[in-house]
Symmetry: C2
Subunit: 746 residues, 2 copies
């Protein structure tokens, strides 16, 4: 079951470097060199195309197409419409020809290939020397940026220098809307352009059923004679000129990409920025980002590069520009998972934003608020009350066509409640809590209550699938019951705590009656939690009597199990796919004693095969908490370099965005010992032996807390307002001057 690195890219603390090009890594490189600015994302494909393996993927945040789904066997509550992120037009499409030769790195001779992604500004550079047949050597450099400050802009700069002789060049800048979505085998766009300007080439594309428009304006700057080209879903500017030997020529493009959902008003179109201006803007943007959010790891260049790459990609994918977007499991880097967001958003990604970019965290919650109507419609489909959030979605409707998941998993909804509570407690944003938050809580609590049932012992949930997807249709799943308890309790508490006026507004909106919070509180109080005398919580009723399987004895060749085992065989032993009891302890660390954590970790960890890439981080964090540092380090292992070193051998399909967030969490929560339950920050850092130091920052309300962990001591100071926190169990007020404490218990 061990995973191994497949290291290809060069080590550097602030850059990702590819020196020389190996076509076997072509697709993987496309994923790794992906750029995004939340508004759009573009894989690191070669702009000139060619014959190499490629997933020519550009994506626009929140832009999707729907399709009807007819289930095999059609029962009530089954999903009849699904949707997926569309492949956008290629706004970087470039053709470079000299005489009769067209650049294609799959066919042409070239040397000195270097590709660099600089995480200090988001600049992707690719340079090489093209050894042409007729005109000798030509230095070629492609640079691209997605503008962080004005994210409608994508810019590209091409630098050419003929080394041997003058060269007749034809350089074509295109926007190509004919790119095929590989999984579906078709292009989803309809060309609805109605005009083309003189010096501007405008391409307007519309999705067929969701009626979303993407409007591209291409503006290229280049010497020579210019021709405008246009065909269906395609516009281009073609430039012919002679490249004089020894004189570097720079050409560039700026493409404006504006997305309009039905009902959106068009934005005013700004002037095209110069490449250098976007570069300067990005440099400033990332400077500020790193100043506040860098994680510095001394003595471990691999993890240093890895964690920065994680932070870079996470910020690029999502920073809360629009409450219409969520975070797809693959971000904007590939088709896998259809662009869908899962409950990973609330449980893995949200903590990062909460402690670094609270506005982004709020927008993630507003996304759930804006999709509350869809969640309420879904609950009705399931004969339930309130709001049932989808297990997989872009537009807020349920896109998962597997009823086992879409009908049985309650965690998407309870995760939203968890997120509301965590956000409200950490930010103190009562305006949100008592308006949007409370409205969601009412509907989620209604759903939760109606999905459960009473028996002689109390309240619980029957016929569910908890986070551990190797057990289905179970009763009293610990995670589900525990999260249900917390959700119902918190919803009742919020309504109790809120002012008369707020409650009146809420009642008007939701039809809330006074008996409801009482029913929630009662169900929460009487929630059934199965626990053995030795403190091990039973993952679900009957779990302890399941036949035991030694997961270490399963041959490596049988993983992933879904590909090698009969489907139902997976469900009848005590083997876990990913944590359930430990997952609840991960989300509510203060609710459980260290002894409980230790005994449950000892019981469940050996039974888990981590078939979810999110599983190791939870284990690393719980192991940290109970002092199992060796185990914590083992599980941390490849966390920061999951994609960089292609541990799962599927980086080619796109980046594992939720795992990226989990890596950050493992460092901050695991090694930093950071907790924030009830809005109160506490820390208990420790340092892996080979690390000389660990620095990270946390934003808590008006304060930016700087944490430096060294082998012998911990130093804290605060920018902004002073912060009261707990360090190794001792309460302290941290202000501008560093507070230093010896690390205890070494």
């Amino acid at each position: 079951m061990g995973k191994s690195a497949d290291r290809y890219f060069g080590l550097d603390t602030h850059r990702i470097i590819e020196k020389g090009f190996d076509p076997a890594h072509a697709l993987e490189g496309e994923s790794i060199f992906s750029l995004a600015n939340e508004h759009m994302g573009v894989r690191g494909y070669f702009e000139e195309g060619g014959s190499l393996p490629s997933l020519r993927g550009s994506y626009l945040g929140g832009v999707y197409e729907a399709q009807p789904h007819r289930p095999d066997s059609d029962y009530l509550g089954f999903v009849h419409r699904t949707h997926y992120m569309v492949t956008a037009a290629d706004a970087l499409a470039t053709r470079l020809a000299v005489g009769s030769e067209t650049l294609d790195l799959g066919l042409c001779a070239f040397t000195d290939f270097v590709r660099v992604l600089d995480m200090r500004n988001g600049l992707l550079t690719r340079s090489f020397v093209w050894r042409t047949a007729a005109y000798g050597a030509i230095e070629v450099r492609f640079e691209r940026l997605l503008a962080m400050e004005h994210p409608q802009w994508l810019v590209q700069r091409i630098t050419l220098c003929a080394l041997d002789q003058d060269v007749p060049v034809m350089l074509t800048f295109a926007v190509d809307g004919n790119i095929i979505h590989k999984t579906n085998g078709q292009c989803q766009w309809v060309d609805v352009s109605d005009s083309a300007g003189e010096s501007r080439s405008v391409l307007a594309l519309k999705t067929a059923s969701t009626d979303i428009t993407a409007r591209y304006i291409l503006q290229a700057t280049c010497t020579g004679e210019t021709r405008l080209l246009r065909s269906n879903r395609y516009v281009a500017q073609q430039h012919s000129f002679t490249l004089a030997r020894g004189v570097a020529l720079q050409a560039e493009r700026a493409v404006s990409v504006v997305v309009l959902h039905p009902g959106d008003a068009p934005d005013p179109q700004g002037d095209a920025p110069a490449f250098a201006d976007v570069l300067a803007g990005n440099t400033a943007h990332f400077q500020a980002y790193w100043a506040a959010n860098d994680v510095e790891i001394g003595g471990d260049p691999e993890n240093q590069q890895g964690v920065r790459y994680c932070l870079f990609q996470l910020h690029s994918t999502y920073r809360g520009l629009s409450p219409r977007d969520n975070i797809g499991a693959k971000g904007l880097t590939g088709e896998a998972y259809n662009g869908h967001a899962f409950w990973d958003t609330e449980t893995y990604c949200l903590p990062f934003y909460l402690l670094s970019e609270p506005q982004a965290a709020k927008h993630l919650l507003l996304y759930r608020y804006h999709t509350l109507p869809q969640a309420m419609a879904r609950a009705r489909e399931l004969d339930l009350q309130g709001a049932c959030y989808p297990i997989a979605t872009m537009d807020g409707t349920e896109a998962c066509t597997l009823w086992q998941h879409s009908s049985l998993q309650m965690q998407p909804s309870t995760s939203v409640a968890y997120a509301i509570q965590t956000y409200a407690e950490l930010t103190g944003d009562q305006a949100f809590l008592y308006r949007e938050g409370a409205e969601m809580l009412v509907q989620i609590a209604r759903y939760v209550l109606s999905r459960g049932g009473w028996n002689d012992q109390g309240f619980g949930f029957y016929g569910v699938m908890g986070p551990d997807e190797f057990h289905m249709m179970v009763s009293h799943d610990f995670y589900t019951n525990y999260l249900g308890k917390k959700t119902l309790h918190y919803a009742a508490k919020v309504i109790r705590d809120m002012g008369e006026q707020e409650r009146a507004a809420l009642t008007a909106k939701t039809g809330l009656n006074a008996a409801e919070p009482e029913a929630w509180a009662l169900a929460a109080e009487r929630m059934i939690l199965l626990r053995r005398a030795d403190g091990v919580f039973e993952q679900h009723e009957g779990y302890f009597s399941l036949p035991h399987i030694d997961v270490q004895a399963i041959p490596v060749g049988e993983f992933p199990l879904y590909d090698h085992w009969s489907y139902d065989r997976i469900y009848r032993t005590d083997m876990l796919k990913q944590p359930d009891v430990l997952m609840a302890m991960f989300l509510y660390p203060d609710d459980f004693t260290p002894e409980e954590k230790a005994v449950n970790y000892a019981f469940y960890e050996p039974r888990c095969i981590h078939e979810s890439s999110l599983s190791p981080s939870v284990h690393a964090i719980i192991a940290s908490e109970v002092g199992l540092r060796g185990a914590a380090l083992d599980f941390f292992g490849f966390a920061t370099r999951l994609d960089l070193d292609n541990y799962n051998r599927n980086t080619r399909d796109g980046l594992h965005l939720s795992s990226v967030a989990a890596a950050w969490m493992t460092i901050v929560r695991g090694f930093g010992g950071v907790r924030f339950e009830g809005g109160h920050l506490s820390l208990a850092p420790w340092l892996p032996e080979h690390w000389t130091h660990l620095r990270f920052s946390l934003r808590v309300r008006e304060s930016l807390l700087r944490v430096q962990v060294e082998p012998q001591r911990v130093a804290l100071h605060c920018e902004g307002a002073p912060l009261t926190l707990t360090l190794y169990g001792q309460t302290a007020m941290v202000g501008n001057t560093p507070l230093t404490m010896e690390r205890p218990g070494l």
Copy 2:
């Protein structure tokens, strides 16, 4: 939840009568007037076709077509090929025209409509007076028979008599292979005819993928000028003549229908029989059948007619002509359930055949033996050993595309083991038991053992769906564990009991090793059966803690639940679809004490909604056993007349063949108190109050036992060998002279 009769057909003890025609009952009449002779079946549709609603269904036993299936989400063990019974050619197709008028009872005027099915010979007669526009009244009579003795023959007789004037008639006898399978919307036949004889019209049709040929030879006898017609999948003989006023004209056809599966050698073609000869043959056949198998109910004409209809249809559908056939849930009377046989065959139908036509019972077992390779292939698909019999099938492969059923239900396999044991014990057929029986038992036991698992408490099955299909993915389902226990125990016992030579042959065939029966015996001995202190067996682990639902409080409009409740909602209460614990007690009545039956009946009966039409009979029989005669009568209620009075309002789709068998069983096992465990017959009859007497017969080995139950006494006698049996707990040897006993405990 009550069901009500929709009585349309006339009451008669030996016939089904329709006087006058109501188009609203057209489809229902087609089902009720279905004829079959196992080789083929034909719905009671009007041979002349026309504009009335009709399911023009003819079916050939064991003739099916396959189709690939692509599951929504494709996991290992999911079914990728399904199959269904094809709609055969219409061998009765008739066109009757006078001048320019063509007979169509949906459009033409007619009076004096009478349709009669005579259960004493299988003759279906339809007569009416056709009020033509141009030629006055014409008496028309259609008669049809499926030959019981030489089942390749279907015969039809048409009698015409012009009442008012001479009439120019064109009468066309056709075999029409263009009939559409309604569910699939297409005709599955390819015309492969290669010749047409002079006086014989031959139509050879082949299924596209399963390569089964049906060869029809049409031979019509009629006055007048004859023309042979032929087009794709169609042959006909057209006769033109003048029908003289007042002179009855008879015309008839015989159609030979021969089915060849790939590899079959063609049968020699016999001469066409006259209609009268087939009628005489059928009369003799049914006379013998009724003499041995009639059930006579005094004082209850409804149930008298009902039970005879059940016995008539059961014998027509299946009497063991070929071990290639099984009993479809709808017999040969409709497309519903795709012609598939279920485990109903072994649990509901087999007992009837065992006690009336043991050779048919043996052929049902040989059907499972011949499909053992398919069951072994299915087990391998599920990562299991041995043989996993399909939940739904015609050709022995699994045709059910719902993984919840095809992967989780073990009852098809354990039912085969139950059937082998019951057959062997009742018939003493050791040759079968130690050859085919033992081979199946070895493979079934291997499957059962590999599907289960051990824990500290013992052995059991995890992730199953028992007979009660409202609970899925459960552990220690009582029925599944109990049947598993019986299967493993019996398989080990058979191997222990058999001779050296037989064991050597079995070992050579199956690779059996000595440790296997030991492992089966141990698992059987240590099988986990969950039981409460008060004797109630827990239907599955956790069942007792499921939320309780008052099934009586569910509004009638919400049934069937699958059409009104979200799919997953059905699975999370203590409501049952059909019995599970009681089903085990039904199959193994001697294993449980009357007290156990009473307490389990009292607990489970109120929780069952009987969404399977087979559920009431099991309840009626257990209620009989524990002396709840009122309840037994309530559940017996519509059993014999389920289709005749259209209780389920879906008789139009075809007859409920398994329910037909269950009705017989309710009378014989319920009221007759008949048991046959261990091959020993025992009886304990009782009589519903309004019945003056009940007579039935049972064939046991060389004996035919005649039973007459009267209010005060029971009289038995035996034809053939004397029989030792138990009556009301007393052992008796019954021979040729009647043994009379007062009914105890009145």
